[in-house]
């Protein structure tokens, strides 16, 4: 069992990501994308910068053009993206897409696609949820055999960056009832294939998600990831990887909202004194500080467990996502409240942190979903 500290390589990655996100992908960039109603919702130039920094290939093996820094390495990038609300397809492509290919894809599929991802030439997205609240085994999308291949029919929602992804990674049912784990397949589908309809949905955080419908979409046998009907285990592992990174993003976002709030309290004066002199506010900040210390630990532990293939990794990821969701909600609510009237204005950044937090919390399972999963994995 490793000590709960970053190694030198991870620390360097953290420092590099910190500088890069602050300089190249700050909050003002998200604001500009939102205000200009940008069609893609992210900057291609920034994406290229992330490729050059090696962030996009963090999870990809060196032999396939990546830097292979592992989940804890990637977590350092996600945390800094959280601090700056950096808008990019990092999560959809470099985390979700890459993890699905690594965990479910064949050698051929990995060799064909991962080098392109690392080079910034291919965007991916997971199309998993069919209900507003995350429920990955609830799959009504049907995959039926036809000739040498398959035909796909169904509808997916909250597909992050679905409107710009080149390929979608879709969960579909080959057999079984709507909520069974057995009978679920994973497959690659081109966004531009005949019968795929992608409707961009702008979310509260000014980031992108899509509603995707599949109508008699032809899927080649070679586009199946893993065996037909046996994709759920790989999907669960993929979601663990994604949720680990979402927890890291929530950590960064919460720390930033907290630090901005503390700085505001030290500066804002009322009744002739700074707000920071009021014990009513001090104690709430000190409590929040304690909660933030807790999520630092659970995020670190969950990512380490994923890297080490720990048998408790799923339990630890659900712990991290649940706790990070809970604390991010508290941190952003307190941040807006303590900024007073300024916190309610669009001009002030603090509200953007609250909006992003809720979207990240809801994505692939909120506090309640993961608290329930944590309890089940603990035997109750």
């Amino acid at each position: 069992m490793s000590a709960l500290v970053l190694n030198e390589e991870q620390q360097m990655l953290k420092d590099a990501a910190k500088r890069f996100m602050y300089e190249s992908a700050p909050v003002s960039q998200l604001r500009a994308l939102r205000d200009s109603e940008d069609a893609t919702g992210f900057s291609r130039e920034l994406w290229q910068g992330m490729v050059e920094m090696g962030f996009v290939g963090t999870l990809i093996p060196e032999a396939l053009g990546g830097s292979q820094f592992g989940y804890l390495g990637m977590g350092q990038v996600s945390e800094q993206a959280g601090r700056n609300l950096s808008a990019s397809p990092l999560l959809s492509t470099a985390v979700g897409g890459v993890a699905a290919l690594l965990l479910a894809g064949s050698n051929d599929q990995q060799h064909a696609l991962l080098p392109k991802v690392a080079a910034g030439e291919l965007l991916l997205s997971l199309a998993v949820d069919e209900t507003p609240r995350h429920n990955p085994s609830q799959v009504s999308t049907r995959l039926e055999s036809k000739g040498d291949g398959f035909v796909l029919n169904g509808r997916k929602q909250f597909v992050i960056d679905g409107h710009v992804a080149d390929k979608l990674i879709v969960s579909a049912r080959s057999s079984g009832a709507d909520s069974e784990r057995d009978g679920i397949s994973l497959l690659l589908v081109d966004r531009t294939a005949a019968g795929v309809k992608v409707e961009r949905v702008s979310m509260a955080d000014s980031r992108n998600a899509a509603l995707v419908t599949f109508t008699d979409v032809a899927v080649a046998a070679s586009d199946l990831l893993g065996e037909a009907g046996k994709g759920f285990d790989a999907l669960e592992l993929t979601l663990d990887v994604v949720n680990g990174q979402l927890a890291a993003e929530l950590l960064g976002l919460s720390l930033e909202a907290f630090e901005r709030t503390v700085a505001y309290l030290q500066e804002r004066k009322q009744f002739g004194v700074t707000l920071s002199s009021f014990q009513g506010l001090q104690h709430r900040c000190a409590h929040l500080f304690s909660e933030l210390e807790l999520i630092k630990s659970v995020v670190l532990k969950a990512l380490m467990a994923l890297d080490e293939g720990d048998e408790d990794a799923s339990m630890l990821v659900s712990l991290a996502k649940a706790k990070a969701s809970e604390v991010a909600e508290l941190a952003t609510n307190e941040a807006v409240q303590m900024h007073g009237g300024m916190g309610m204005t669009d001009e002030f950044d603090i509200g953007l942190f609250m909006k992003r937090a809720r979207c990240v919390q809801a994505l692939f399972g909120d506090f309640r979903y993961h608290a329930n999963r944590f309890a089940l994995l603990r035997g109750y």
Binding site: A3, L281, Q282, C285, S290, I295
Partner: protein, 392 residues
């Protein structure tokens, strides 16, 4: 690593041979805890045997130097010993304020003479210590303490009153904060002195708590003679040591948020009390509350681990102890509330064999003191706000 593996094998073999089987069962009653001292009555032969064997190895104070009776173990070896003890669910051989608190302070600040006099009897569990800190007028504002020590050349004469002295009525010696300079700024006129509880002028009176037990006393000091050789560190420099000890105490009390080895987890108790339905605890609302507590407790346990790892790596926030004390004690209070709820009316039974002499209710009530003793939760939040966040 090879050395460490060898140490683990030796330790395992030694424990296998030397830890009595009855000392590998969970502690259920107060008398199962071994405090040692001149007046201690051992609950069983095994309890005494276990203490004597561990003490002979110096493993009641595993990381103290061997020259003072300690085990002389490195941090890594100490960790191995803890793990091996946990593996067989061994009870602590000795619970001791001497080992936890005054011993480390004497090691760090005391004279060679004090080390030789006091440390070996602590290791052997022969002398039981109590802490004289709080006073009727100095609780959260500890530095305002008034017990006065007047300089009489080679000794002091001490007059005053202490309160919340843990087990003063059972202790052999006291480590005590007294005011040696009434004219200096309040933190600068305090000394830490040691004296035997049988010294003329020392008397104690137990305080009965809402839990029905009396772990604390009032202690009266009436013209008590204390030799100057029994001052720890410099005269008037006691506050630094007091703060060092408070940090120790906070970490100790904060540790109560964690589930000790051999103790059943809250979830296990819940399953026993309520049962499962389709793999889930059969009561939805309780299940939600228990899961929430379990998440926080696991996160807290990992945080305590991270703080230690960071300290070893030379990183980390100072004053982490304030955060651990605050969160750990609040967590333990929540645990006790849930335990009462899980047991329903059984959890409120006060006396009688049927429900372990009201242990659930009494532990629940006792836990209310966790966020008061050793600095209240509110004082911890003040420390975090001012010292870490710079809010003032």
């Amino acid at each position: 690593m090879a050395d460490l593996d060898a140490f683990r094998q030796q330790t395992r073999a030694w424990l296998d041979e030397n830890c009595p089987l009855s000392m590998r069962k969970p502690m259920t009653k107060e008398s199962d805890q071994c405090w040692g001292g001149r007046n201690f009555t051992f609950a069983s032969e095994d309890q005494k045997l276990w203490l004597d064997r561990m003490a002979a190895k110096g493993w009641t104070a595993p990381d103290w130097p061997t020259e003072y009776g300690g085990g002389g173990l490195s941090q890594e070896e100490h960790k191995v010993l803890r793990e091996e003890l946990a593996r067989i669910s061994a009870r602590p051989a000795l619970s001791s304020f001497g080992v936890w608190m005054i011993g480390p302070a004497i090691l760090k600040f005391g004279s060679e003479e004090l080390k030789r006099q006091h440390l070996p009897p602590i290791v052997r569990g022969e002398i039981r210590w109590c802490q004289g800190y709080s006073e009727p007028g100095a609780g959260s504002d500890l530095a305002g303490l008034q017990s006065r020590a007047v300089d009489e050349g080679d000794h002091f004469i001490v007059n005053g009153q202490k309160v919340w002295t843990s087990y003063a009525d059972k202790a052999d010696w006291m480590f005590c904060l007294v005011r040696t300079n009434p004219d200096a700024k309040k933190q600068l006129g305090i000394s830490l002195v040691l004296f035997d509880m049988t010294t003329p002028g020392v008397s104690t009176k137990p305080i009965k708590l809402i839990s029905g037990s009396s772990p604390f006393c009032e202690t009266f000091l009436d013209n008590v003679r204390v030799e100057k050789s029994q001052v720890v560190g410099e005269i008037n420099a006691g506050w630094t040591i007091a703060k060092y000890l408070l940090t120790h105490e906070r970490e100790m009390i904060g540790g109560m948020g964690r589930t000790a080895s051999g103790q059943k987890t809250l979830a296990q108790i819940a399953v026993e009390c309520i049962g499962l339905d389709g793999g889930k605890l059969a009561d939805d609302m309780l299940r939600g509350e228990i899961a929430h507590w379990d998440l926080d407790a696991k996160a807290f346990e990992l945080t305590a681990e991270r703080v230690v790892d960071e300290a070893k790596a030379g990183q980390g926030v100072g004053a982490a102890s304030a955060m651990l004390k605050y969160y750990g004690t609040e967590l333990n209070k929540r645990r006790q509330e849930l335990l009462v709820a899980l047991h329903g009316s059984d959890g409120l039974v006060w006396e009688g064999e049927a429900h372990r002499e009201g242990a659930i209710a009494r532990n629940w009530l006792r836990s209310k003191g966790n966020s008061i003793e050793g600095g209240t939760s509110e004082v911890q939040l003040n420390v975090i706000s001012r010292n870490i966040l710079g809010l003032q």
